[in-house]
Amino acid sequence: MTTVKTENKQREAVIVIRDLKISFGDLHVLRGVDLDLYQGENLVVLGRSGTGKSVLIKIIAGLLQPDQGTVKVLGQDVDQLNSRELDALRLKIGFSFQSSALYDSMTVRENLEFPLIRNVRNLSRSDIDKAVEEALADVGLSQTINQMPSELSGGQRKRIGIARTLILKPQIMLYDEPTAGLDPITSTEINNLINEVKERHNTSSIIITHDLTCAKTVGDRIAMLLDGRFERQGTFEEVFEDSNDERAKQFYEYNFVN
C-alpha cells in the first residue's frame, strides 16, 4: 500500500475505519477495510462497479451493519449508537445519493425544507425561507424553487440533492457517484461544486466514483478499493501516474486512453 501524505498525520481524523468486513451471502464485499478521513480533506474512493464502494459509505451513515470491524465518525462508534444517537450523528453527515433521492411528491422548496423542519425546532417561516434560498443559491439553482423533481435535469437533481444535505450544515459529506450518468460539462460543474462546498463549508468528504476525471479534480487523496481492501492510497499521481501496479494502470487506461 502506498503511504498516506505526511501532512494528514497532523490533522484530526473525522472518520476512522478499522478491519471492516461485510458479506452478502457468499459474496465477500469488504474484506478488512482500514481507512481514515481527515478534517478538511476530499478523499476519493475509486473502484470498479460492484466492489463495495457504496456499501462502505452506507455503513458509515449507519444504513448497513457490518459483519465485523469498527467505524468511528467524529469519535462515535456508529455500531454502538442507539437510534436517537444515530439520528443526531446523521445530522452532521450529508449524504448525496447516486440517484439524487429527491422526494418525488414534493417541490424543490419542500424537499429542502423537509430535513430542516423535522430536525431544527423553533424556526420561523422567514428563517426556513432564508435557509432554503441560501442553500439553493449555494448550488446556483435559485430559479427551480417551485419546480417538481420530475421537471429537473439529471445535473440539476444532483445539485438539489447536495443543497438538501447542505441545509443542515454537515461537517462530513458523503457523495455516492456524483457524476454518474452526467455529460462531461455537467460532470465538471458537479466537480467544481464539490470543491466549492469544501471551501465554503469546511467539510470533510468521501467521494465514491469510478470517474478518474472526477477523482483528479476533487481528490486531495485517492484510495483504491481492490478485492475488498484498500490496496493503494495516496495522491492521484502516487496511485496512478507514478505507479507500476498493473490493476491501477488498467483502470487509468480504460478511463483516459480508451
Partner: protein, 271 residues
C-alpha cells in the same frame, strides 16, 4: 443488516425442496410478524406525524369518494333490480328495503369498499413506497434524521384503518339512495317508509360488526401495501411487482377475514 440475515447457500441447497420452501415460508412469516410488530411499537411513540396522517386520510378517503359513490349507487340499483323477480314470485316485493339493508350493511358495503380500496389505495401505497425504496428516497429520509417507517408506514396504515370504515358507511348511504331510486320507479313507496323499513331491519350488532370488519380490512390493506412497497427490490420491475402483490394479497386476505368474521358473528347471533 442484510448481510447478517443471509444464510449460507450450501446449507440450504443440501435440504429437500419441501424443507427449503418451508424455511422460506417461515422466514417470510417472521418478516411479516416483525413488520406488524414494528407498527405497534412505533404507533404509540411520539412524534405522531399528525399532518402526514391527515394528508394520507385525504389521499385514502377523499380521493376514493367518487369511485365509492358511483359503485355504491350502482350496486344499490342493480341489487334491488335483480332481487325483485325472486321476491315478486312470493308477492313479497315490500321486503325489498329489508333485504337491501341487510345485504348492504352486513356484507356488501364493507366487502366491496375493501376490494375497491385494495385496488386503488393498496396498489398506490405499494407502488409509491416501492418507488421510494428503489430510488433511495427511504434511505435519504433515514439519513436526514427522520424515521421512515413511522413517517411512511405508520401514517398510511392509520389512514386506511380509519378511512375505510368511513368509506364503507358512505357506500351504504349511496347504496340506499340507488336502491330507493329503483324502488320508487317500480313500487311507488315513499322515501320515509323506505328508510323506516331499512333501519328497522338492521340491528346494532349489524352496524357494529360492519364497522369492525371495515376497520380490520383497512388495517390489512394498509399493512399489506406498505409491507410490499417498503420491502420491494430489483428496480422498476420490483415496483410493479410490489403494486401487483399489494392488490392480490390484500384481496385474498380480505376474503379470508370476511369468512372468519362471518363465523364469529354467526356464533354471537346463535349465543
Amino acid at each position: 443488516m442484510q448481510a447478517s440475515t443471509t444464510s449460507s447457500k450450501n446449507d440450504t441447497s443440501a435440504k429437500p425442496v419441501v424443507s427449503r420452501r418451508l424455511d422460506r415460508m417461515f422466514l417470510a412469516l417472521n418478516d411479516v410478524a416483525s413488520f406488524v410488530g414494528q407498527f405497534f411499537k412505533e404507533v404509540f411513540v411520539p412524534p405522531y406525524e399528525g399532518k402526514e396522517i391527515i394528508r394520507q386520510c385525504y389521499e385514502v378517503g377523499v380521493r376514493s369518494l367518487p369511485l365509492i359513490s358511483l359503485t355504491g349507487f350502482i350496486t344499490g340499483i342493480v341489487f334491488t333490480n335483480q332481487s325483485r323477480p325472486s321476491l315478486a314470485t312470493f308477492g313479497a316485493t315490500s321486503w325489498l328495503p329489508s333485504l337491501i339493508s341487510i345485504a348492504l350493511v352486513r356484507a356488501l358495503a364493507p366487502l366491496v369498499t375493501a376490494l375497491i380500496a385494495a385496488g386503488r389505495v393498496g396498489s398506490n401505497i405499494g407502488a409509491e413506497l416501492g418507488s421510494m425504496r428503489v430510488t433511495e428516497q427511504i434511505e435519504a429520509m433515514e439519513v436526514s434524521g427522520t424515521n421512515p417507517f413511522k413517517f411512511l408506514v405508520v401514517t398510511r396504515v392509520i389512514a386506511t384503518t380509519f378511512m375505510i370504515p368511513v368509506l364503507a358507511m358512505f357506500f351504504v348511504f349511496l347504496g340506499v339512495m340507488g336502491s330507493y331510486v329503483n324502488v320508487a320507479q317500480n313500487e311507488k313507496t315513499s322515501f320515509m317508509s323506505f328508510i323506516e323499513t331499512f333501519f328497522s331491519s338492521i340491528s346494532f350488532l349489524d352496524i357494529n360488526s360492519a364497522v369492525i370488519k371495515a376497520i380490520m380490512f383497512g388495517f390489512t390493506i394498509g399493512m399489506v401495501g406498505s409491507y410490499k412497497g417498503y420491502n420491494s427490490s430489483k428496480g422498476t420491475e420490483g415496483v410493479g411487482k410490489a403494486a401487483n402483490a399489494s392488490v392480490v394479497t390484500s384481496m385474498f386476505l380480505v376474503f379470508i377475514e370476511e369468512l372468519l368474521f362471518l363465523q364469529i358473528i354467526n356464533a354471537i347471533r346463535a349465543a
